[in-house]
Symmetry: C2
Subunit: 392 residues, 2 copies
């Protein structure tokens, strides 16, 4: 069997302007890290997303690690996290000592709701992680109300939803922390790795550059000469009377220069993906055994095109798509409580029946932005063929 | 005053073959992270350095963080680290709970010796960090003898010394862990950020891919279908019966593709830098108040060109070079015990008089590989001018 459509590990191709930006930065940037392109990228990102403090990082996991560090969990503190998400949404919180409580999802949209979060709040809850999985914006206005009521920190994992919005406000800008990813598979990627952390609290914003860059900072006094007492200072930032440990989470200048260009194109990429997704969904609407989330507006970026089988034929569908049509559909986001990692750490228990049902019946179609029109049409007709065959 | 020669933040320019490799990977790589270029880069690196297990990482600090994690320090365990080094050589060990004991340097070479390490060994010493600072290879054969005698783990920080060697063996390949940096300022740089960790222990080698990539691993059984029970597994690696926490320390494919090309050029870059350094040193030999370390062989990469003033005129020298000649010399590697970071953490005490004396009298000349011959000659004549002026 020849594979005709793979599940690509890269979401988009680069256009000439983007390649030129990389070449130019390779030739001219000095330094190649922590320089002017970093500032440009962060400013362009803040402007696009409408946020005050944006910090470019080596990846989105680093953004989640920093958010988890800034939450300053104490023994017994709980954090509510959807079980149906990528592992990076969860493990940084475990590393920082929080107790994970898994939130279920809504079966129709594949993400958490205000209700599934609310039912997990206890007096020990300190924070909630909301993931705009697949590119669909969770109902943040409702969730922020609950968070305010219970005095909870909110980490918005918008790794898959850059550019999506609700009530005209971008996902990632509601919570205390907004996390964005520019990894290879995301709607825009800064050469395969990259991330952004946005924060609301000025105290956080002041120390993040140090936490990102090995504790480097200015001296507290004006230096007489540029090299005395040293070129720069190294300190441990403090927050609420506690010392925090630094890291090296820097994103290189070339990636930042590229990121500035990609931000000009993200809305177009999202629109093109959404248009295709909605077309695909509408073309399949008579196959009610396959349930998509159809959103014909900016609330969904369709980072991924997923659907859920309601008749138990998911495995046979993927099998026929793969072996008979040469199309590699995949299955994503195994509920984290089912992985050995979380079981070993004591978080193997979850009351997330929807997440289990969704995962056990979901399919994720190849949906890279650079898929040719011919391949897209072939995937659509093949899907129809296989669904018809499964009905017989 | 017009600045004629800045202290550049980037060590080298890219040639057309390197730019072409980046363009090609940008166009063709799929995925853009954790793919075939990673394997190629690691294989090329292992081949160049003559090591068995090489792991490309997002930066050298990540390599040090992993090494520190794999040391599995217990309360009270001590690690010997030179006080005269970059902060990333030290803080990852502090984060992992080790007690830092600062080792002094030899005044003539600016690095630790077997002797300065030996005098700090106690029954609690578990590991030593040796830094080949400035590109000069520390006497590893002697140090490995001591390490073996006392059963110590050796972390070789070769961030600045890629390609340097002693007795025909490359720096970074003697210890249990070898750390390499491809940061902007290093002799080769993978777009501003990048690093490599080499290890000797097969048990370490087996779990590093998981520690690097969010705990991702294979299932322990052969899967019937590629998507069942999930696309991949997530686990917490164990070492000596203890669970370790994962990270995201991935280096993108474009950087790896570039790294493969750069390895073809590192020996030439090192030779060209060494040739210039030796010429510069020889031209200044009558100024005995300025002491260089002159090594006319592969033991030194001359990542940096540094010297020490023996007559207390360092500050006036830098001042005149800057204000009268427009050349920005700098001062590097403030003994870490003098920074607030280490003082706050309880490591503000050190018995490192040579490190203090070296730092307080050292100068680091601009020494980027792409410095023009004209600039280089101007720096040499300016140095002579200022040294003459200071003698009057």
């Amino acid at each position: 069997m020849e594979l005709k459509i793979n599940f690509s590990g890269r979401a988009h191709k680069y256009n000439q302007a983007e390649i030129d930006a990389v070449i130019k930065a390779m030739q001219n940037a000095d330094p190649l890290t922590q320089g002017r392109y970093l500032k440009e990228f962060e400013a362009a990102f803040s402007n696009y997303i409408k946020a005050q403090y944006s910090f470019a990082l080596c990846n989105a996991t680093a953004a989640l690690e920093l958010a988890a560090e800034l939450c300053q969990f104490k023994t017994g503190d709980e954090v509510i996290i959807p079980s149906h998400t990528f592992t990076s949404s969860a493990y940084p919180f475990m590393k920082k000592g929080a107790r994970i409580v898994w939130a279920d999802i809504d079966l129709e949209i594949g993400v958490v709701t205000a209700q599934t979060i609310k039912e997990n709040i206890t007096p020990r809850t300190k924070a909630i992680v909301v993931v705009h999985l697949y590119g669909y914006t969770v109902d943040m206005p409702e969730i922020m109300k609950i968070a305010k009521e219970h005095n909870l920190l909110v980490i918005e994992d918008a790794a898959q939803s850059l550019g999506s919005e609700i009530n005209g406000r971008k996902s990632g800008t509601f919570g205390d922390f907004g996390i964005f990813s520019f990894q290879s598979h995301k709607n825009i990627t800064t050469l395969g790795e990259g991330g952004m952390l946005i924060v609301k609290n000025k105290k956080h914003a002041q120390i993040i550059p140090m936490l990102r860059h090995n504790g480097h900072c200015d001296f507290s006094f004006k230096k007489e000469e540029y090299w005395l007492p040293a070129m720069g200072n190294v300190d441990l930032p403090e927050l609420n009377g506690e010392i925090l440990w630094p890291n090296n989470y820097c994103l290189g200048e070339i990636e930042c220069a590229l990121g500035v260009k990609l931000l000009k194109r993200i809305d177009r990429i999202n629109e093109e993906k959404r248009e295709r997704a909605v077309y695909f969904i509408d073309e399949l609407k008579k196959y009610t055994e396959l349930k998509f989330s159809r959103i014909d507006n900016k609330r969904h970026t369709y980072h991924l095109l997923v659907a859920r089988f309601k008749n138990g034929t998911r495995n046979e569908f993927i099998r026929q798509m793969f072996y008979e049509k040469g199309i590699k559909c995949i299955v994503q986001y195994c509920p984290l409580n089912r992985y050995p990692a979380y079981q070993k750490a004591g978080f193997g228990e979850a009351n997330c029946h929807n997440a289990d049902e969704f995962f056990d019946n979901m399919v994720s179609f190849p949906f890279h932005h650079w898929m040719s029109e011919g391949d897209f049409k072939y995937m659509l007709s093949s899907t129809k063929d296989v669904l018809e065959a499964l009905r017989r």
